[in-house]
């Protein structure tokens, strides 16, 4: 009887995992199939994925905080992207270049994104429960104003110093705006390391960190720590071992890694953002954000200023989005003046959802996994389409279609999941309550 119950429980557990991670599992298989069909050298695939990861991750991380605050996916990170673009336009106008150009762009985008975030937050407080659709429409609306300013007012009304920025008739900015040679990838170029070394470094750092934690616990001899097994340490060791074995045993794998260079400075920036988000989750502010996300009425009744907290959450998100867009643009080296921000929201959100996040729950792991899977599909699908149907257009179509499909499916699955959860919990909980 007991064992029967146990297998049943395991079955339920597996089923639940399958249901909860349906989107991620689906994408995992699509990616595997795509990689096989595309039939590309591993060095190409790993190189592309790695560069896209570094390019997009901060934008995806920018989405996390509003999810904690119960505001769902923040479509209005588009405004953050605009703030970054305005920053670049301003610094380009004063003919800056190199790291200084990026730094000034960021400095300009800070107040802008904070103001945008604040206003967005205020709007969201008026439309509680409809933040996502509001954010999406707000993005379209903001685009209108952005276009007005840069398409018509720049030149006649707003003086532009750098004539290269203007269209030939003197009205409106040219598109695309190119960063000069020194500015393009300025952050990336600070320090490049081949991927195999980078992974070794990260894994060894992780191992050292875990060892330090273990030692500290061991030295402090805390009561509650005694029962705990050093899982972190074991995982770190195992990961390092697996990676080393993979590198030694597979020539092509090692070659692919050596072939790929990763930008260390950008990596550190991403790490800083991750640390900030983790740190935030352990602070009073993070706790308040989570409390508001779980139940606004309860948070308010306990004296937490929910409206203010929600505004702060959106401000943080918008600021990170500005930083993310800046990293994105320096990586590419140019941006289409009037459309670069358009897909920032949708693509980032699709990536996060693919990583297994929902509109109620999202963490750094979801962001990284999502970025990997989503961008793998992004690279692979045109190639797979070309090989399969002799038509790259089809794959191109597929990846745009999939991006929106992911959002729709993930949202529908989320609704379905909550219905299922309600159904599952309904019965046993009732029985327990009235035993």
């Amino acid at each position: 009887m007991m064992s029967g119950e146990k297998t049943n429980r395991v079955g339920v557990f597996l089923k639940r995992q399958l249901v909860n991670n349906a989107v991620t599992i689906l994408f995992f298989f699509i990616c595997i199939a795509g990689i096989i069909l595309a039939n590309q050298p591993m060095s190409y695939i790993i190189g592309e994925i790695s560069s896209r990861l570094f390019r997009n991750l901060i934008l995806i991380l920018a989405l996390l905080v509003p999810v904690w605050a119960g505001m769902g996916m923040n479509f209005s990170i588009v405004l953050g992207a605009m703030a970054a673009q305005i920053g670049i336009i301003v610094s380009t106008n004063f003919s800056m270049s190199g790291i200084a150009c990026l730094a000034v762009s960021f400095l300009v985008s800070i107040p802008l994104s904070l103001v945008f975030g604040n206003l967005t937050g205020r709007l969201f407080n008026q439309t509680k429960g409809q933040e996502m659709i509001t954010g999406m429409i707000l993005g379209f609306f903001a685009k209108g104003i952005y276009d007005l300013v840069f398409m018509f007012l720049c030149g006649p009304v707003i003086p532009v110093k750098n004539q290269a920025l203007l269209l030939t008739n003197g009205i409106g900015l040219t598109t695309p705006i190119n960063l000069d040679g020194a500015t393009k990838s300025a952050l990336n170029k600070i320090w490049m390391v081949s991927l195999d070394k980078a992974v070794y470094a990260v894994l060894i750092l992780f191992l050292l960190f875990q060892a330090a934690l273990f030692l500290r616990r061991f030295l402090l001899k805390k009561e509650e720590a005694k029962g705990k097994k050093p899982w972190g340490l074991l995982i770190a060791l195992l990961a390092l071992a697996v990676f080393h074995v993979a590198c030694v045993s597979s020539e092509t794998f090692l070659f692919a890694l050596r072939f790929t260079d990763v930008p260390v400075a950008t990596g550190i920036l991403i790490a800083v953002v991750c640390v900030y988000i983790t740190f935030l989750s352990k602070t009073k502010l993070g706790s308040d954000i989570n409390a508001v996300g779980q139940s606004m009425p309860i948070a308010v009744s306990m004296g937490i200023p929910a409206d203010k907290i929600r505004i702060v959450a959106i401000m943080i998100s918008t600021l990170l989005a500005a930083l993310g867009q800046l990293v994105f643009i320096q990586d590419i080296g140019n941006f289409t003046t009037y459309t670069a921000h358009e897909n920032v929201g949708t693509f980032s959100i699709a990536a996060l959802l693919v990583g297994g996040a929902s509109i109620k729950k999202a963490n750094i792991g979801h962001a990284i996994l999502g970025a990997l899977l989503f961008h793998t599909m992004f690279i692979i699908s045109p190639l797979a389409g070309k090989n399969l149907f002799n038509n790259a257009q089809l794959g191109e179509y597929f990846r745009v279609f999939v991006c929106y499909a992911v959002i729709a499916v993930a949202l529908a699955l989320h609704a379905w999941k909550s219905v299922m959860a309600k159904k599952i919990s309904e019965d046993p909980a009732e029985e327990e309550k009235h035993e």
Binding site: T283, L285, D288
Partner: protein
């Protein structure tokens, strides 16, 4: 000894409707005062005043004084009340399901550690001192004598434990002087309730005064030091527990006698012809959950369903009409009814006047005519004209029926085309009734038919129910919070308590019997 709290001559009315009329009593430190009274007696209004809720100030404030520790206080918001040391445990849980017990207990009063970043970026970036939070939360729980792991998240906690977490949160506040408990045992099992009461005793022994709102008279008798009874906004009794007893409390709660001649349906006899049989019905309606309802409705009678709010009386009709998920067996004219399918009951010839008039009862932006015929159009396909594959609303044929109803029910309106949203509450209720009756139902469910309508309209509605019952032989199941209203028109009255049928009484049974059934005392121990 100086009283901790003195409600001094509190008066309050909502738009001319007096809900509190000179309530005046005191509470000593460490004393447990039970506050008893029917629904609408003014208990929650009194507590809203104590906590400075917005509803009070928005409706013109109140008269009288609240004297706390010898000083007249002006409480503008729940935060003011908290600052004075007044805490409240709500009927519904105010706990965050994803947070641990400890974090819930210390919510917004977390122990924090300053760090370099917080010195620059502001207090929001102070780190939570988790070990200390857990330690202090565990301390508060152990003061209550409870063994709950403070590091478990609340959603994994048995429902019975949640109430204790709420209390722990209150007593963890160092300045707590008065604790208000609003029907705290409603969701607890018997053994949990016992432990809970022991907890409260402990809290009071620490010198904290307690206001205890409960309908369970047994608990009141065993726990409280004194009992304050409100009825229709007036204080009818303020006695030490030793000087009173359960029956007296019950009688004083229900109070006013009803003249026997005003009960129209006493001692009518019926054949044992069961039109509707409800067996073990369980309806999951939030706030009005019922657990196990078994009832038989005889053909031609008016059956009343009464009971206190939150005990599940309104869930019965909502369950049968498929408005909320339900389980159990319902047979109608001997045939099983698939009530889980919304609309099934309507199709079978039953009709429902919902208590949620504006939510599900009416299309406020549509005309009286359309509102009245809408259900009939859907169920019996009347008032429609065919146009190829489409059926269109046939205004002409509807108009006659609607006019007849308007006259019959004396609905004050400019005509059938007037928008329902513009009507008064009483007239809206009549439209609801008309909508149900136009379908010519065999059995009619009416839920809270007189809620929020004036006395004149009330009487017309009640008379009309009696009339259609007599003349058209429509069986009526009427749910109402107003016991006297049920007694005026019903043949039998089923009292629902804690989600089950506590007993069925004739309308002329003594007040005490009704009161005892409502407060969860089975009729047996009389």
């Amino acid at each position: 000894m100086e009283a901790l709290l003195h409600f001094k001559n509190i008066k309050k009315s909502f738009s001319g409707n007096v809900v509190l009329d000179g309530v005046d009593f005191t509470i000593q430190p460490g004393q447990i005062v039970a506050l008893a009274g029917e629904n609408g007696a003014g208990k929650s209004t009194l507590m809203n005043i104590l906590f400075g809720m917005d509803v009070i100030s928005e409706t013109g404030g109140f008269e009288g004084e609240i004297i706390f520790e010898g000083k007249t206080v002006n409480i503008q918001s729940p935060q003011d009340a908290m600052a004075l040391g007044i805490g409240m445990v709500h009927q519904e849980f105010m706990l965050l399901p994803g947070f641990t017990v400890a974090r819930n207990i210390k919510l917004n009063r977390e122990n924090l550690i300053a760090n370099p970043i917080s010195r620059i970026a502001g207090k929001g970036y102070q780190l939570l001192d988790n070990p200390k939070i857990v330690r202090e939360a565990a301390g508060a729980l152990s003061r209550l004598g409870m063994e709950i792991n403070p590091e478990v998240t609340v959603d994994k906690l048995p429902v019975g434990h949640m109430q204790f977490v709420e209390i722990a949160r209150e007593i963890d506040k160092s300045n707590l002087k008065l604790l208000v408990l609003d029907e705290p045992t409603a969701v607890l099992t018997e053994s949990e309730a016992e432990r809970f009461l022991a907890c409260i005793r402990k809290v009071a022994d620490d010198g904290i005064a307690v206001i205890f709102i409960s309908h369970r008279l047994d608990e009141v008798m065993s726990l409280a030091d004194s009992v304050v009874i409100l009825r229709d906004g007036q204080l009818v009794s303020d006695k030490k527990v030793e000087d009173t007893d359960k029956h007296q409390i019950a009688e004083q709660m229900v109070g006013r006698k009803l003249e026997s001649e005003s009960m129209v349906n006493v001692n009518r006899s019926f054949k044992e012809d069961i039109i509707l049989e409800i067996e073990h019905l369980r309806v999951d309606m939030p706030g009005e959950r019922s657990k196990d309802i078994s009832l038989s409705v005889r053909r031609g009678e008016i059956l009343g369903i009464g009971g206190l709010a939150g005990h599940g009386k309104t869930s019965i009709s909502n369950g049968i009409f498929g408005m909320y998920p339900a389980k159990g067996k319902v047979s109608y004219n001997g045939q099983p009814l698939h009530f889980e399918k919304t609309g099934e009951a309507l199709d079978k010839g039953m009709a429902f006047v919902s208590e949620d008039r504006k939510g599900v009862g009416l299309l406020l932006n549509e005309s009286i005519a359309l509102n009245m015929v809408y259900t009939d159009m859907k169920v019996n396909r009347n008032f429609l004209k065919k146009l190829g594959p489409f059926s269109l609303f046939d205004e002409k044929s509807a108009e006659e029926a609607v006019k007849e109803m308007i006259e019959e029910l004396d609905i004050r309106c400019t005509g059938p085309k007037q928008l329902v949203g513009r009507l008064s509450g009483g007239n809206q209720q009549k439209v609801c009734m008309a909508r149900a009756l136009i379908t010519k139902p065999e059995i009619l469910f009416v839920s809270e038919p007189t809620r929020g309508i004036d006395i004149g309209a009330k009487q017309i509605l009640l008379n009309y129910l009696v009339k259609i019952n007599k003349e058209q032989g429509i069986t009526i199941v009427m749910t109402s919070s107003e016991l006297n209203e049920l007694r005026t028109v019903c043949d039998r009255i089923a009292i629902i308590g804690s989600g089950t049928v506590q007993g069925i009484l004739p309308p002329d049974a003594p007040n005490v019997d009704f009161a005892l059934l409502m407060s969860g005392e089975k009729g047996g121990d009389k």
